[in-house]
Structure formats: structure tokens, C-alpha cells
Subunit: 400 residues, 2 copies
């Protein structure tokens, strides 16, 4: 039986594809520090878990396709507090950020159309692009300058008659880059000049460090009808398993089209939305506490990496990832070796090999993504194992 | 800003598009009996609600992309009890039946490929087909013979070089038709002869009446590698808001491809899966009770419709819908009139106009779908209002 072309083409998750090696290691009694996946260990807020416990309807029914009205109103208030001028009708609740990305792509792009994405980028954009039949055109950014966005002319050079949107992740997964107002200004300029949408994945909005300020694409003037924000509670409230996200846009025609796609799948899960809504009552102190914790971890990981003279690594300004360039030829082989061959006292480390985060072939072969989602002590141990393993592996690799 | 072609083409849900008229009627103080949407009033099992209440993890984390292992094993046991020989690896948990349909289409069809679907069909297949760029080729069935499947040669006449699958809904939404082994044999024959997949939406599996037996496509011999079952807990356990479904297939290559699509969206909601899993402990007595209740309702609705000499109506063998042909020119106008102009003691009825359930233009103009998802008393009242309204509307229509 022949499957569709997209079934053969769709990328296997580079974050998850090495899991069989991890399972095999676990069977041998090896403990693995998982730095490969953005699954925070921060506790989900009690107020959210309590919302599940307090559900007391007799019939767990469908909600509206655009999401529960009360939740959409709560979200509007959340964005307003951030200085983003939207109301409930500009918001559509989605099945996590994932569905928000898929809907954004299919509503803006025809089959064969192109979107420009700074690479390295969140690898699952590949899967949604394949599903939607959209071609990703990479705009390469570099560890050496903190993955900053190239100037407008570099972006423009990639625009063709098929380009429909620029997709940003800000703060960036996997780079941790936080785009400045100046960087965003250039994107806005290109979008206006070439009549493009700007899809901005802002799920890590709160996680910025060193006094940096996050700038939402929705706060930029003059592109109200071009800006589409993709959002999610997964990282914000350590609630990856809730699968609640949203799309925010002031483009009424776009939101009407997305509502029609959303009607086909009826609605997002009802109780998970109620639980997500409960999180909106959390005050700033919640984020202060969580950001402080991530910041501490970021400093640990960055410090350890910088100690190594042959690792190139930009200090990330946001999110909870760090994306170092290692002195190896093939980072994927290194990760597999760590899982198969290496341990200290029966403990080893798993990170995500980086080539799956690039669309340009060959890019990222010597890079990895580290998610600093473990506590301080675990992270220190994991970094020690990773870096001692690295030096041993380099010797083995040099002899091959 | 120009949107994508599919954004303009995607069908507005014919089930939900008349909601503004309903909201407007409610504002005028009118009570509406909702027969338009398959939202059961049957209580969600306590064991399921309790599963939400009993969640006690500290971090609401991602689950596996293919679904929680324990749940997949429970599902395998559920299918085994039905005589369907599958194991956990043949099952992928999805975000309700909706995602199962989307994944089935994108994994089997290229852009521009065709699937044959008996019409009238579940209208949201249109939305997923538009998202996937797949063309629906309708195989018309008729109220007059209970919407039975046409013979193999009629199906074959629709096969082209672009046909990739036949999609059945069995028991049928919106028709209530339950396909016999003989009808399925013809589908299997065509699928084998023309190398097609058979996607079978069996979310109403348990709801069959009059001693009929449901036959799953997975139980048919000789098409193990062609059969794809789409399933969901929504109707089975009155849990439409949980958004938990699955895909079942013994075609390993297909399941591997679908896993890659599933990895892009990470996982289905974690707690909802735990809650769905809890339902698997319900015994046969649960379904006996629910089926008895739906059967009673079916008889009420069918009896009322049959009393009207000019309504054509097949007694449905399954699901919880009935699909009568009314003596009006335009059933959608009739439904809108019921919402805008008609009431008995400030109560009126909303049903789903049928043309959105057909792909053939002009078909279904005088048909509606009634979902018998209200209790006996409410249903009797609703049918009285609907049928008295119908006779008044006919007079008005005849004068236009």
C-alpha cells in the first residue's frame, strides 16, 4: 500500500527519535538526565490542578469552537496587561500552540507557498509545514552573534512570489534569542513591503532574563492586519500535558477563516481550558519565582559551557534552551554514544542533536540543544557528565 | 491581506452556522430544543469525572506522541473483546476523532487526490478534506432505502487514478445507517481491486438497535493492511469535551508515518487520556442502559415523523441521528424560520439543515438531521413543536 508523499517526507522528531536509545539505556539500569525535551520540572500551579479536581458538571460537553468565552475574555485581559490591545474576539483557543501553528499556516499559505523562518528553528514547524504543503525557507542565524536576526536586505533576499509569511519564535526555541525592537522593525518593514503575514510564536514570552523586555509582534504599529501570535500555556504554567494554546490576531477575515477550520474539529478540550483559565489569576509573583529559577539554571549551564575553550555558545536572553556548538563532527553520534557507551556512576545525559532544527542541509551537525528544565543539583551533575563525556568522545572521534 | 485559497474555500459548519439565529432567539427569551448537534445529554460516567478529580501529579507533563501506554493497552483489550485482533502498537491516541480523520487523510492522500464517501456524510469531513487538499467524491445514498450502500459497480464507477481511499461512517452520522457484512464485502472488494484504503469512522459502534450487530472494518479478512479505524470517546461515554480519540490500523508503515505527524503536535492531553482510560472499566451494563435510552428516543422521533404523511424517513439502525426528507423546498430557510418566527409557549426547535451533509450540489435541500440527544419528555415536546411548525411553514412557503 502506497502512502502519501507527505507521509514519506514528514520529518521524524529529532527531539524524540533518539528515545529508543534512551529506553535501551534505562533497561541497562542507566539513569538519564533529560536535557533533550522542553518538559519543565517546575510544578504546575496548584490552582490549575485544583481546577481539574473541582470540575462538577454532569455532562462533559463540547465547548464553542473558538474556545470558552470566559477563558477568551480572561486571555484578552492577560494581553491587555502586557500592553497588547486585543479583545476576546481577536482570540481563538487552540489545541496547544501546535494547532495554532497548523491553522496559521493553512489559513495564510496555499500548497507550495513559502514561509521564511530564522534557523535554527523549533523543529516541529517542519511537521506542520509538511502537513500543510508549505515550504520552509530558512534565514540562517548564528551562535557567534547570539542568533540575532539578519538585516532587512538579508530577509528580503529570500522573498519570492510564493512567500506568504515570516514565522518568528520569540523568545526563541531552540536559540533562547530575544528579538529587540530594532530587529522586529526590520521584519515589519519587509512584511509591509512584500505584503506578508508575520506569525510570531511567543509561548516563552515571560521567560526573559538580564532585564530584557519581551516585545510582542502585536504591539508593533502598522501591521495590525499582518500579525498573528501563536501562544500556549504549556511552558508558561508548566502544563505541557494540558494542550491549550491560542491564536491572536486583529485580522478579522483571517480569524473568520480560522474559525471555520476550528469548527471542523469542533472544540478544544473543555476541562483543560477551565484549568488554563484558572492560571490567569496567578500574580506576577508566580512568574518572578519561576523566572528566577530558570535564570539560575541558565547561568549554571552557560557557565559550564563557557569553561570549555572549544565550545561556542551565546548566552541566551530568554526561553529555557541553550544551543552550543560542540567540538565534534557529528553531534547526533555523540548523543547516541552518550546513551550507549558512556556513564558516570550509571548516570548519563541526553540532549537534542541540532541538525533537525535547521532546514539548510548540513547545518547544525556539530550543535545540540540543551533544555535547562532540571533542578540546580541535577543540572550541575548533568553538565559534568556531558562535558567529561564530550572530551572522551572527541578522542574517540579523532581516531576514527 | 489575501488569505490562502483553502481559507476561502473551507465550509462553515452547517451544524454551527445557524447559531447566531439561536442566540438571537434566546435573547428574546425563547427556549430552544437543540436537535442540531450531537451533544448527548446522557451523563458522563462518574468513573470518568472522578479520574479528573483524582489527578495528583505535581507536573502536568507531556505524554508519548502515540498516547499513554496504559491507555493504548486498555484500548487493545477493548477491541479484543469486540473480536478485533489488534495490540497496543496498532493504536495511536488522537485529539478526538477529528485529528484521527485529518491524520488518516494526510497519510494516505496527496494534494489533489480523491476519497469516495457515501453521502450524506458527517459534514466536518469537508473541513478536513479542505485542510488536507483532498477532493471528496460523493457516493449518493437515499432515505428511501435506508441509505444502504450501493453495489460494487456503483462504487467502482467513481474510482479514478487519483482515488486513494473509501471513507465510511458506520454506524452513520447523519443517516443512522448500519452497514451489513454484505455491504462491507462490496467495499472490501472494490478496495482490493483498486488498491484503496478503507477509512472507517466507527465512533457510534455501540449504538445499534433492533438486534443489529455492528461489523468493524478491522474484522474483515484480507484487507488488514488497508483498514483504518477512526474512533473517539465523545459519543461512547458522553464525553465530547474530553477530545480523546484514536486511529487503529494493522498497517505498520501507515502507523509509523502517522506517528511522525503526531510527534509534530507532541501529544494528546494527558489528564483527558487518563479519564478516557477510566471508562474502559465500565461493563456491558453501562452500554445496555445507554442504548436502551437512545432506542426509546429513536422510537419517539421516528414514530412522530412517520405520522406525517409527507415526510420520507428511514428508521435508523444505529447512532443517534435521524435524517428525514421534509415536504419543504428549503429546509435551511425552514430552520431559520423556526428560530426567528415560530414558537409554542416561547419554545422552539433547532435542527441541522442537510445540504451541508452532501457534496453533490443541490442535494439535501429538503432534508434535516435530527440528533435525539434530549430526554423523552423534551424530545416529545420538541417533535410536536417541529411538526406543527412544519405545517404552518409549508403554507407560508406555498404562498411565496
Amino acid at each position: 500500500m502506497k502512502l502519501s508523499n507527505r507521509a514519506y517526507q514528514v520529518q521524524e522528531s529529532p527531539i524524540r527519535k533518539l528515545m529508543p536509545y534512551a529506553l535501551e539505556a534505562k533497561k541497562r539500569g542507566i539513569k538519564i538526565y533529560h536535557l533533550n525535551i522542553g518538559q519543565p520540572d517546575i510544578e504546575t500551579p496548584t490552582v490549575m490542578i485544583d481546577a481539574y479536581k473541582n470540575y462538577d458538571e454532569k455532562v462533559l460537553g463540547y465547548g464553542p469552537s473558538q474556545g470558552l468565552e470566559q477563558y477568551r475574555e480572561g486571555l484578552a485581559y492577560y494581553y491587555n496587561k502586557l500592553g497588547i490591545d486585543v479583545d476576546a474576539d481577536d482570540i481563538m483557543v487552540t489545541v496547544a500552540g501546535s494547532e495554532a501553528i497548523l491553522f496559521s499556516l493553512i489559513a495564510t499559505c496555499n500548497q507550495g507557498d513559502e514561509i521564511i523562518i530564522p534557523e535554527p528553528f523549533y523543529t516541529n514547524y517542519n511537521g506542520f509545514a509538511t502537513m500543510a504543503g508549505v515550504k520552509i525557507v530558512p534565514l540562517t542565524t548564528y551562535a557567534e552573534n547570539g542568533f540575532e536576526l539578519p538585516a532587512a536586505d538579508k530577509i528580503e533576499a529570500l522573498v519570492t512570489s510564493k512567500t506568504k509569511a515570516i514565522l518568528l519564535c520569540n523568545p526563541g526555541n531552540p536559540t533562547g534569542a530575544v528579538y529587540s525592537k530594532q530587529e522586529l522593525r526590520q521584519v515589519v518593514q519587509v512584511a509591509k513591503k512584500h505584503d506578508l503575514f508575520v506569525i510570531s510564536d511567543e509561548v516563552y514570552r515571560e521567560f526573559v532574563y538580564d532585564g530584557l523586555e519581551h516585545t510582542s509582534i502585536l504591539s508593533r504599529e502598522g501591521i495590525e492586519d499582518r500579525a498573528i501570535v501563536v501562544d500556549s500555556v504549556s511552558k508558561r504554567y508548566s502544563a505541557c500535558g494540558a494542550r491549550v494554546g491560542c491564536i491572536v490576531s486583529k485580522n478579522k477575515a483571517l480569524m473568520a477563516a480560522i474559525l471555520k477550520f476550528a469548527q471542523a474539529r469542533l472544540c478544544p478540550a473543555t476541562i483543560d481550558q477551565i484549568a488554563a483559565n484558572a492560571c490567569l489569576q496567578l500574580g506576577d509573583d508566580y512568574f518572578e519565582h519561576v523566572i528566577k529559577e530558570y535564570d539560575k539554571r541558565r547561568n549554571i549551564v552557560f557557565h559550564e559551557l563557557k569553561e570549555h575553550p572549544e565550545i561556542v555558545c551565546a548566552k541566551p536572553g530568554g526561553a529555557f534552551y541553550i544551543f552550543p556548538k560542540l567540538p565534534v563532527k557529528d553531534a547526533e553520534k555523540f548523543i547516541i554514544w552518550m546513551l550507549q557507551e558512556y556513564n558516570i556512576d550509571n548516570e548519563t545525559v541526553m540532549a537534542a542533536p541540532a541538525c533537525g532544527f535547521y532546514a539548510t542541509p548540513g547545518k547544525g551537525n556539530n550543535e545540540i540543544r540543551i533544555a535547562y528544565v532540571l533542578n540546580e543539583e541535577a543540572l550541575k551533575k548533568a553538565m559534568k557528565i556531558l562535558l567529561t563525556g564530550l572530551d572522551i568522545y572527541r578522542e574517540i572521534e579523532s581516531k576514527q
